[in-house]
């Protein structure tokens, strides 16, 4: 089976309610990403929150749109991603989990 994904991830994300905290629950030691050979966070994140910024030549991410699966934390081969759940009461709010 092939073809392009029919529903892009930002349309999926539009269905998710999130209460955004002003403090980020994700921090990245970006210097460690520079020579990371695979950068698995880019494909693993189910919300495509990690992107490689070609211009800046660094990893950019958006903690606000996090689904809190924590796959990035498990997959990072450089221990660069510090991820913990958002502060109590903040973050994703599934209505039909």
């Amino acid at each position: 089976m092939s073809g392009k994904a029919s529903l892009p991830v930002d349309e999926k994300m539009a269905t998710v309610k999130i209460k955004i905290d002003k403090d980020a629950h994700i921090t990245v030691k970006k210097e460690r990403c520079q020579d990371c050979p695979t950068r698995p966070c880019l494909v693993i994140c189910t919300a495509e929150n990690y992107q490689w910024d070609e211009k800046k030549g660094e990893l950019v991410f958006n903690y606000e749109g996090c689904l809190e699966c924590g796959a990035c934390r498990i997959i990072c081969p450089r221990d660069a991603i510090e991820w913990s759940y958002p502060k109590g009461g903040y973050g994703v709010k599934y209505r039909f989990g």
Partner: protein
């Protein structure tokens, strides 16, 4: 400085079951949950099997929030151009349901409410950040800037367990020990669901879908469950495989939805909510790492879950109940040391939990090592596990004398023995309705052998 007898971290099925059982024993219990309401952080597919819940709350059906009662299970084998299904009905479930489709948001809130009704103090919107220790003894938790003390802390905080990691009992899960899941809840009118899934109002079905050659993933499966006016569609893959092959799971979900079999069932449905969650491969935590001074792990936090069988919630719930039994004894003896909490293993062993979890682990090792199982076999194996659950209530091994025999047969006999040996064994399993005393004896011996065979110490 506040102090209670017991703090349970996490109001999922494991935590609420534990807190409920503790309160029934009159033990002062605080249940901490990071969501503003229990359930809003959690994702399952979600079919709830209720044998264990019934033991804890016999009258649970009075107000259980559910979607449809499940009377049919389909094991579907999907290849790019065809689909085969193995369908099992259980008509008895129409009047006496065993399984229900539901939403975690409602179920978890209901379950925690039940615990509160028994006297548990639920504090939600609070995330535990760390443990407080006195030497080796865990004596409390840190929530933001606040501290809360207790004789014993139960870690029921699921996959990314703060209690597990900070107590040093577990380390972060490795990618090869995890499954990633993405799920969509899709709107479909009730009558359309009835027609497409061939079910009636209030009655639903669950479909386990095993996918072969659908994409580049060796391990890729899905579940499709019917709610009242929506269906829940989830796909699962191993995290390490996604990484190695550079594959986005949510993109695979989109391809999967284009398969004619799936498309026919969900076409025209609108996305209601998108979700993602990780699952551990159950049984990867050594039993001796489930407890330490002043702390116990239950549910997914301790890997006490049977991932391959889809029986996560019942196993987690039961382990919460067993943790409460252990704490009940500890309170009586006023001893919360590791030595006293070791009783947890005895309680876990009094159910078939550890064996079940271990079985799930073997099963997934088996899948991984066989690279790609032939479809029918995997389906048969899954169907067997389900049937075993339905027929023998497999979690309660002590009440069902034959399950170890059945288990041995399923694990060794089924695939690896030549027919000549297999058939007599089948007969034996079927005929083994022996007197209870004799069965006890055999069971003991078998259990010893079984653990030896599994490479675990028998006298645990």
């Amino acid at each position: 400085m506040d102090k209670v007898t017991c703090i349970v971290v996490g109001a999922g099925p494991a935590g609420s079951a534990c807190a409920y059982a503790l309160a029934r024993k009159g033990i002062e219990t605080v249940l901490l949950e990071r969501g503003r309401v229990p359930g809003e952080k959690n994702v399952s597919s979600f079919v709830l099997y209720t044998s264990e819940l019934k033991r804890l709350i016999p009258e649970f059906r009075k107000d259980l929030p559910f979607e449809r009662t499940v009377v049919r299970t389909d094991q579907v084998q999907l290849e790019p151009n065809d689909a085969k299904a193995l369908t099992s009905y259980n008509y008895q479930w129409v009047d006496d349901p065993l399984a229900f489709t539901a939403y975690r948001r409602k179920f978890d809130a209901w379950f925690a409410r039940k615990a509160v009704d028994e006297g548990v103090q639920l504090i939600s919107g609070m995330k535990v950040n760390n443990l407080i220790k006195d030497g080796d003894q865990v004596v409390g938790v840190r929530v933001g800037d606040e501290e809360l003390y207790a004789d014993v802390v139960v870690g029921a905080d699921g996959f990314h367990s703060v209690v597990g990691e900070k107590s040093g009992l577990i380390t972060t899960w490795k990618p090869e020990r995890c499954f990633l899941a993405v799920k969509e809840v899709l709107d479909l009118p009730s009558d359309v669901i009835n027609e497409r899934f061939q079910v009636a109002d209030g009655i639903g079905c669950e479909q386990g879908i095993y996918c072969y050659h659908m994409n580049d993933l060796d391990v890729f499966s899905a579940t499709l469950y019917t709610n009242v006016d929506s269906v829940s569609l989830a796909v699962f893959a191993r995290l390490d495989e996604l990484q190695k092959k550079n594959i986005q799971l949510h993109e695979q979900l989109e391809f999967f939805k284009q398969h004619p079999y799936v498309d026919n069932l969900i076409k025209g449905a609108k996305l209601r909510e998108y979700q993602a969650h990780l699952l551990p491969d159950g049984g990867r935590v050594k039993p001796e790492n489930l407890y330490a001074d002043g702390v116990l792990l239950c549910g997914e936090a301790g890997g006490i879950t049977a991932t391959v069988t889809g029986m996560g919630i019942p196993t987690c719930l039961l382990s919460g109940m067993m943790a409460a039994e252990t704490i009940g004894d500890a309170v009586k003896q006023k001893d919360f040391s590791k030595r006293s909490l070791k009783n947890y293993l005895k309680y876990l062993d009094s159910t078939a939990l550890l064996a079940m979890v271990h079985k799930s682990r073997k099963e997934s090792d088996y899948y991984a090592s066989a690279a790609r199982l032939e479809g029918p076999r995997e389906m048969e194996a899954a169907a067997d596990i389900y049937n075993q659950y339905w027929e023998t209530d497999v979690m309660y091994i002590s009440k069902h004398s034959f399950s170890l025999l059945v288990e041995l047969y399923l694990r060794i006999g089924q695939y690896h023995l030549p027919g000549l040996l297999r058939w007599p064994l089948t007969a034996l399993v079927k005929l083994s309705r022996l007197p209870a005393k004799l069965v006890e004896k055999i069971k003991k011996r078998l259990r010893k052998r079984y653990y030896e065979w599994k490479g675990q110490p028998a006298g645990r």
